[in-house]
């Protein structure tokens, strides 16, 4: 009886898995079909006449290498920036006592609740005044710190025994050395997983880059893909799917390697 009911639940859960994943599998498979094949045998997972033609067309129409590099470069700056500022801020909150600590922490964390629309006009004006339109730095600059990151680093620091830090502080070892030689090595798995989350989010980012990157040479992958989707219908889906497939490889690889750490970090972001 109970076994029977449990199979029912598994059935439901497997249906959910398929609903979430099948679109992606069809996307990959259709990216290897010609436009005609993709229309006549759209639900055939293994293409009968697999072809690279869509990828070759993409390579002719856009500067793929440049676009992938732009995306990678921008995501790397954002990730490094968020890790460095986040570790420094978290260290200060964890190990220094100072006036207004509670206020500052609250102010930092509250930024999660600031909608991007309330900052986008002034930020756009600042970035264009700084002559940073169409540059990766223009996209990255306003995002070099991250409240969720500070929160996650702080939680990770909880696992370092206080006595350890206290004992080295008494020896008057400068705090940047403590951070570099003790905290960072202990937190390495956390830093990697939090960094992986930052990188994936930045890799996929769309809204802010569309305001800053107007020149096709400065496009990142999401912007290039957006150009292949027509709102009037008439999208060449195999072509758009080929570009999407290129786009998902990097996040998928990162997830394959760091899956356990990433899920742990996401979990801990919800806990007190």
């Amino acid at each position: 009886m109970n076994k029977f009911r449990e199979s029912g639940w598994h059935f439901l859960l497997i249906v959910i898995c398929l609903t979430l994943l099948l679109p992606v599998l069809f996307m990959i498979s259709n990216s290897f079909k010609t436009l005609q094949d993709s229309y006549h045998s759209m639900l055939q997972l293994i293409p009968t006449h697999p072809t690279f033609s869509n990828y070759l067309t993409l390579d002719k129409q856009i500067n793929l290498f440049r676009i992938v590099w732009n995306t990678f470069f921008m995501a790397t700056i954002v990730t490094l920036g968020k890790i460095i500022t986040g570790l420094l801020a978290a260290y200060a909150f964890k190990y220094f006592s100072f006036k207004g600590k509670k206020f500052f922490y609250f102010a930092f964390i509250s930024t999660i609740f600031v909608p991007f629309t309330v900052v986008m006009i002034p930020n756009f004006l600042v970035i264009s005044k700084l002559n940073l339109l169409n540059t990766a730095l223009g996209v990255a600059l306003p995002q070099l710190c991250d409240a969720t990151g500070i929160m996650l680093f702080l939680k990770a620091m909880d696992k370092i025994p206080n006595s350890l830090i206290e004992s080295v502080r008494i020896d008057d070892i400068p705090s940047y050395k403590i951070l570099k030689d003790i905290v960072v090595p202990i937190l390495r798995p956390n830093i990697i997983s939090i960094g992986a989350i930052f990188f994936i989010n930045s890799w996929n980012e769309y809204v802010w880059p569309t305001l800053i990157l107007k020149d096709k040479n400065s496009f990142t992958l999401p912007l290039a893909l957006q150009n292949y989707i027509s709102s009037e219908g008439g999208t060449n889906f195999p072509l758009a799917m080929a570009l999407s497939t290129i786009m998902i490889i990097v996040p998928l690889l990162i997830y394959l390697i760091f899956q356990r750490y990433i899920l742990n970090s996401i979990s801990s972001s919800g806990l007190k």
Partner: protein
């Protein structure tokens, strides 16, 4: 000792400085400037701005397009709460209490779409739901039905757009909620088993109240993040149309600012959105006590 205190103080400032600087320049100052802009009519370029007082705020509640946008925003919130909060919550309860194996496998698989860009999601759904060449239309033709052109209907477009974000955040919210359920003490659950209390009762009376704080966190996140997430599929697929039917407060702000160059209207709408989010933040602090009060 005094010397050390002084040193500590400079260090604290040095460590917080990068974050504080970016926060000040790119979040706090912009909020103030947007508030200032909301009292003027401006087009983002002209050298002068016309002071119009509260006119931009009045127009949010009197202009029929703006009223439609606000109504749409409420529709979005309700749909997002159902799809991105209630459904994952229900599924996380099933996975936690009603099955005995494969929990981790489900967690790993459900999370996969959250790795992908919403632009990919928007492309996929515009293929799946394409009225001419998509698989759904294909199946419906087999049954003698036709798939209506959903981009011509505001309500249907909103539903599809919410489904796209659901595809992306379902696994993410599921993982958060499942973690919350995992922190309910096992001995309480065991005790109810001994007393042979039915499972649904145990969940309703014990687990849900104990899990209240994380659930509320995900609920607020669903609204705050969800309204920003739907921006991407709106922008890629419908551009807010047909006739503002699938637009919401955030997309309309963008449209006013960067397409119509009505900076004042955009700023006023942004400030109203911000105030609503602040109310949600306040509720979060009240309900999820301890989360942000780490240093009390």
């Amino acid at each position: 000792m005094n010397n050390r205190n002084k040193k500590n103080k400079t260090l604290t400032i040095a460590y917080l400085f990068p974050t504080a600087l970016i926060l000040l320049v790119f979040i706090i100052a912009p909020i103030i400037y947007t508030f200032y802009l909301s009292f003027f009519n401006w087009n983002l370029i002209a050298p002068t701005k016309d002071f119009v007082g509260l006119e931009n705020y009045f127009s949010i509640f009197t202009d029929p397009v703006n009223r439609k946008i606000l109504l749409n925003t409420v529709f979005y919130i309700l749909l997002l709460l159902f799809l991105n909060f209630l459904v994952p919550y229900f599924i996380s309860i099933i996975v936690k209490f009603f099955i005995s194996k494969m929990q981790t496998a489900y967690k790993i698989i459900f999370f996969i779409p959250s790795l992908f860009s919403l632009v990919v999601g928007a492309m996929l759904f515009s293929w799946i739901m394409n009225p001419v060449s998509g698989p759904v239309a294909f199946f419906m033709r087999g049954l003698g039905l036709t798939l209506p052109n959903w981009t011509n209907s505001g309500a249907m477009a909103v539903v599809v757009i919410c489904l796209i974000t659901n595809w992306k955040v379902f696994g993410y919210n599921f993982v958060l909620l499942l973690t919350g359920l995992g922190s309910v003490p096992q001995n309480i659950i065991d005790a109810t088993k001994m007393d042979s209390i039915p499972k649904w009762r145990m969940i309703w009376d014990i687990v849900l109240p104990l899990n209240k704080s994380i659930a509320f966190y995900v609920l607020i996140l669903t609204i705050v993040q969800g309204l920003q997430y739907v921006f991407t599929p709106i922008s890629v697929i419908t551009q807010g149309g047909p006739y503002y039917g699938s637009s919401n407060a955030l997309y309309h702000t963008y449209l006013n600012a960067f397409v119509l160059y009505k900076t004042g209207n955009a700023s006023a709408l942004a400030i109203v959105t911000f105030v609503i989010f602040l109310v949600l933040l306040y509720l979060e602090i009240k309900f999820v006590e301890g989360r942000t009060n780490r240093y009390e």
